[in-house]
């Protein structure tokens, strides 16, 4: 009996020791989490302000890039601003020992990235919670069909078939298909994945057929793979400008209709009872998604673009306590993923789409780990 008690005691002592050891190891981590938690509001607001500042800087660059060939003082000022960005890029290059940031093309790609890193997660958060996560993927595939349609139109009309024209056609085709997809899902009475699978594969099929037909008929100066996988090098002046316009419009619409979008996302039936035009807001959301997807497709490619809409939103949902906070966090994670991903891609000469998505998945895994931990803490309290 006494022997047993002794054994138990020693076992107990070992457990206690182990516990303390673990606690000591985890202690700095716990302090770090608690500190972050205490200042989470400040961190979020600061992050958002920085993102806003960065986006403004990038919009200024895009405007300067557009106006610098104008005659007169406007053109001259724009050219000076443009040169400032390019020299800022070369400072970066000297610091890192690279030769990428001094190129206007790279700055354009970063500008596009920063903007889609805001609007992607912004619409994505609503989509994820409307359980429409795969809509982005579907619309990216319709955008691919749009590019193919653009190729055929360009070939038939004898236009140059530049990337700008193709992207513009993709915008239109994607927005129209988005509305068609919405009607289809309404008819089948749910956002089930069947209509989504049909439209996704169907538009890709149309795209491949049109492209191989166009290949036989006209000279095509564009690698279709660029659109499939995305490439910093394919971001054009016109493409950047279109992303700037769509970003301003999308942000303005979400700010203006925030309450309506939140209500139809949270409780569609109650929103209908409150006499909201649920169908109209749905259409607006889906068309916004379509244009964001086409804009983001230039950097991420058709296949990966949905990731930028879905992953930051999923990451933020792990941590957010309110929808507003979730929306803010999703923009922050989207922005960090784009910046880090683009940086890695540029410095290591890797594809931008892949690196952005991998970085954002890294954030997601970290968020899942942290939120599990904090759930544990709450239950202890």
């Amino acid at each position: 009996m006494s022997l047993d008690t002794a054994k138990e005691e020693s076992a107990g002592a070992i457990t206690t020791k182990l516990y303390w050891l673990l606690a000591k190891l985890y202690w700095p981590l716990g302090v770090a989490f608690r500190t972050i938690d205490r200042y989470r509001h400040t961190i979020e607001v600061t992050g958002l302000a920085l993102t806003g500042l960065l986006a403004t800087l990038m919009l200024v660059f895009i405007v300067a890039d557009w106006l610098r060939f104008w005659s007169g003082p406007v053109g001259a000022t724009a050219a000076t601003i443009f040169d400032t960005y390019v020299s800022a890029g070369s400072v970066f290059d000297r610091l890192l020992g690279t030769r990428v940031f001094e190129s206007p093309g790279t700055i354009r790609a970063i500008a596009t990235g920063v903007l889609i890193g805001i609007v992607g997660p912004l619409v994505g958060t609503f989509l994820v919670h409307r359980q429409m996560a795969l809509i982005g993927e579907t619309l990216a595939h319709t955008a691919f069909a749009g590019v193919a349609v653009g190729l055929v139109i360009a070939g038939l009309t004898g236009m140059a078939g530049s990337r700008d024209q193709l992207i513009f056609v993709a915008f239109i085709v994607s927005a129209i298909t988005a509305l068609g997809l919405q009607r289809l899902t309404e008819r089948t009475d749910s956002y089930g994945d069947v209509p989504i699978a049909i439209v996704l594969t169907g538009s890709f099929a149309v795209g491949t057929l049109l492209i191989s037909m166009a290949r036989g008929q006209f000279a095509i100066g564009i690698e279709i793979e660029d659109f499939l996988f995305g490439d910093i090098a394919i971001v054009t002046v016109g493409g950047t400008r279109m992303v700037a316009v769509l970003s301003i419009v999308v942000v303005a619409l979400v700010v203006f209709f925030y309450k309506e979008f939140l209500f139809i996302t949270f409780d569609e039936q109650a929103a209908r009872v409150a006499r909201l035009n649920v169908r109209g807001y749905n259409s607006l959301l889906i068309v916004m998604t379509a244009v964001v997807v086409v804009g983001a497709m230039q950097i991420l490619g058709v296949i990966l673009v949905a990731g930028l809409l879905v992953i930051p939103a999923a990451t933020a949902s792990q941590l957010g306590r309110s929808f507003r906070e979730t929306l803010f966090l999703s923009i922050l994670f989207g922005q960090l993923s784009v910046l880090l991903g683009l940086f890695i891609a540029l410095v290591a000469s890797l594809p931008s789409g892949g690196s952005i998505i991998i970085v954002s998945i890294g954030f997601y895994i970290a968020a899942v780990a942290i939120s599990d931990r904090s759930v544990g803490q709450i239950s202890v309290h």
Partner: protein
Amino acid sequence: MSTAVDVKNVTFAYGETVAVEDVSLSIEEGDFLGLIGPNGSGKTTLLHLMIGLKEPNSGSVRLFGEPVQEFDAGERIGYVSQRSTDRAGSMPVSVREAVLMGRYPHVGHGRPGKEDRQLVDDALERVGIADLADRSIGKLSGGQRQRAFIARALAAEADLLALDEPTVGVDADSRTDFYGLLDELNQQGITIILIEHDVDILTEHVDSVACLNQRLYHHGDTVSFLESDAIAEAYGTSGRVIAHDHP
């Protein structure tokens, strides 16, 4: 007293399947009506027809004196269904945000003002979950979540509550509290239409009962309902029809 909901000869079918057949009933302002009937008897459909979520194939519905399809004072109706509360479980929305949605029809595109926030605080206080305001609604228990949805209707200053089995999956104590709250709200003049499968609980709280199985079997005060054999008829009809077909 004026009529809150007036249903006249309403029929609704899903394709070939008739869900509600030739139902007429009217609900006065301040009533507490229980809708009862077996599974698939068209209770939810009838409730949806009353608040304009569905349009009848024939017949007419008037809401506060107006044809329901033209009725646009959405804030006057507070609607809570099992489905809405299920969704709340997976979305990061704080209790305060969810209740504030009740103010949305009032504020339009503007920002909710001080008065709106005050009404939200009052509503949270009223249903007894003011201390949970900043929690994520998904982290609440079933009973607390139902209270949050009622708070949303109160913040909207709704005068008609349409509740579709609001206490499914809620423990017995919270359920009793919840029905106590409904009684209080009804005494303050809010009209309530309640779908509840538990006849005992229902008859304890409501003033009148509508017993439905496709057609309306009984509509009257609770005492007359308990004395009638409407429930046996409504629940037994399908069985009897089968017996006729196969003698």
